[in-house]
Symmetry: C3
Subunit: 342 residues, 3 copies
């Protein structure tokens, strides 16, 4: 598909500098884009590429002053990154062939119901009393257990597994291989050293606009519910223990694990490979640096780091000295020697 | 389903205080339970809820002295938590519709055999010479490779993948998406910098009463077997390398990884996100704190922490000072200054 | 299958000491092997087993001097480990029944094409315009999305999920449950605190001889491609973010995560549970110790450790002192006291 720079500028209300009839047919990064690409510039780090890129078009800030000649056609907008995102969204809509219909074979229990515009891929499974909303796309090899509910406009990518009695809201996207509703890790130690399983009878609730990454696991509650609130985004291979609750618009990067019964606040930003112990309260707007190990409650808005996690800046201050510990030891030895020599 | 408090007390041999005919129909946590719920109290942290909970019934210790009036009906037992677990188990049995039968379509090789009371979900696969015991529940999209054996009373949740020649004992539960028998990560470095695969010809043995978490991976041995002994419980997304052996009744929390050929003792407790290097011996009853990195053998009963992991209390003592390192540096500077001024 | 020691010696050009007609029928480790096994000896740590092993045959170095009588028949070669690997490979070829043919049911879109000697397991899915090369083995429950290409001689184990438009080279092995092409974790923060998804329109390219571990996830690029170069080996549950590039013959151990847009050089060795931040350049031949957290670019050939990762030896030097921090504090207090007493 070819577009003119003028067409693209129109899309984002931008002003064209250069030949607006120039054709582009793909999207690229400013440092690697070739002729026929449209790109954007918003980060000073990439400034030199402005003057060397082979991209046919660049989306830039309306007020940006140029120091040299730029060969590409420019589209000037208020926010180049936002403009570029708008372009990506439009491109996605043009590209995406909206799948509709039921492939063969599938397994649909006679008590399962579903709305209009369903796509149900081959080898997908809808158990007893499953309810699927409008315009839901269920890819091949997805399993939805008895009594589970999926809201409107959801996408379940290939191989998603939903245990029985799960509740999924509207506009949720679940990536391939994620597991919703597996048993919590609850065992009671017996006198002979063996462990007896504590039945896990609760469920999982995903509210609206929740995204779940590939191969992520959300355990069901022991009783009651594990709850992922509105707008939460989980990256790949995240582990959510039983009875956890994650507040609205919190984002969690890949490979992080949250132990049972911990409550995470709203609008938190949690890095990758973080571990959070069980039964904690993490305040709203907490930021947790990657690989931290959190063992205590946190107050609203704190930024923490380390294992066990402490204030972010304090951790780095201590680490700066940690790196110099051999020199510090020498300082102490010199002091000792000087004292001896007195 | 409605039950009277008297019926529930009977179940756990408890003594009722209050109106035993009070009806309950669900199970709750003491801090959030509503009318119609039964809950329990065993942790002092939740004492205040004893007097404020809306639960219709509370299971408490037979000797507990109350300081205020409790509005709920009480069931007094020796061990409230054990009593509550008994209740959960009974509730689970009442709720669970025992699936039996073979759905359509499935793939069953003509040489595969299975016992009575099998449930085989749609899109499940039994390869050549597969042997399945009595009363096994195999959910949709499960794959069992050629020559594998599954004992009696096992549950394989949706999407479990068992490679060829795996041996699974009795009373094992495998959660959705777990992989048993994938190749160990064994490569030989070649002179040109490339890697040549070392064939992984061994198998995996799971003994009786082993539970495997969702999306956990257990690699097969290079030759011989990777062995998970009786009563071991693995949480979600745990990684078990080739030729590893895990002793009886050891429990391992989510996202922990154990590298090749390491032998873990019996009755160990291993936290989440722990890494254990290859070719180590971890003694019986070792406890490893979450996120630790273990690079040395451990003696029986030790508790360790940190990366590289050292004695738990020593790690925390050092960390207490780590947090104050900037102040320690100031102390040293003051000392230097004082010496200079002498 | 029984073989004589003479037959095995022939395979690896070795010289037999003892009765070359001795029969063996399995492969074992020197410390646990029984009668009828062939094993090897190359690591001094296992020297005592040379004289006590029950193995019928041992592959050893041609120049090794023995201090005691060895009861097993010996095969003397240049490199015992290499000889043993050759044996494993031959054994694998003899054991492996090469699967060919298409099981029932499968889903093959009418526009999908494939080469000779295909194995397509039951419940596998080939989408629109999928192209599969020669001699490819696709196990049950594998999903290959629209427009994806798989080269010659690849093995896709059960439950692999390939998103649309993925490109896979020749001689690649993908283990069970791995996900290729899921959306990158890209969201734009909105003024109301919610997040808006940035469309992920790029793809994933796996070059030749790439191995992907069980339940590993490789995200697609935002635009352009996430690239895994020739000969890269990824272990289980590794997370590769969007727009990452991994250089030739780099190996990455289990549970490591690499954030978006980072470029990893050639011939790197990356341990397990490592985290690498986004937008970094990791030089060729970098070695990263297990559980490290990398937040800065690295130069060619460096060995790093810790969170944040620093030079490996410096980290260990500092850690040695870290372990003694309580004693160091005492040293400082004694100094202070001595100064006071002056």
């Amino acid at each position: 598909m070819d577009f003119t720079i003028n067409q693209i500028a129109l899309l984002m209300g931008g002003l064209v500098e250069g030949d607006g009839d120039t054709l582009v047919n793909t999207i690229g990064a400013i440092e690697t884009a070739n002729k026929g690409s449209i790109t954007f510039y918003s980060n000073k780090k990439y400034e030199s590429y402005l003057y060397t890129t082979k991209a046919s078009g660049i989306i830039i800030n309306k007020n940006l002053k140029l120091n040299k000649v730029v060969k590409s056609v420019l589209i000037r907008v208020d926010d180049p990154y936002l403009g570029f995102t708008t372009l990506l969204e439009t491109y996605e809509k043009l590209l995406s062939f909206k799948k509709v219909g039921i492939e063969t074979p599938t397994f649909i229990d006679k008590t399962a119901v579903y709305g209009n515009d369903l796509y149900l891929g081959a080898f997908a499974y809808l158990g007893e009393n499953v309810k699927i909303g409008e315009n839901v796309k269920i890819y091949p090899n997805v399993y939805i257990g008895d009594g589970s509910i999926v809201g409107d406009n959801c996408i379940l990518h290939p191989g998603v597994k939903i245990y029985a009695n799960t509740q999924i809201g509207n506009y949720c996207t679940l990536h391939a291989g994620c597991i919703i509703g597996s048993d919590g890790f609850g065992y009671a130690l017996q006198e002979d050293g063996s462990y007896k399983k504590i039945p896990q009878l609760g469920k999982v609730i995903l509210e609206d606009h929740v995204d779940i990454g590939a191969n992520t696991v959300v355990d069901c509650a022991t009783f009651d519910a594990t709850i992922i609130r509105k707008g939460v985004k989980l990256d790949n291979m995240v582990q959510i223990g039983h009875n956890v609750e994650i507040g609205e618009h919190t984002v969690i990067a890949a490979q992080t694990g949250i132990a049972g019964s911990t409550k995470i606040g709203n609008n938190c930003i949690i890095g990758g490979q973080v571990g959070i112990a069980g039964h904690l309260h993490i305040g709203n707007k907490t930021q947790i640096q990657a690989q931290s190990g959190v063992s205590k409650n946190t107050e609203e808005g704190h930024i923490i780091y380390g294992t066990p996690a402490i204030d972010y800046r304090n951790y780095l201050r201590s680490y700066t000295i940690y790196r110099k510990l051999p020199e510090v030891m020498k300082q102490i030895e010199i002091l000792e020697q000087k004292l001896l020599n007195l």
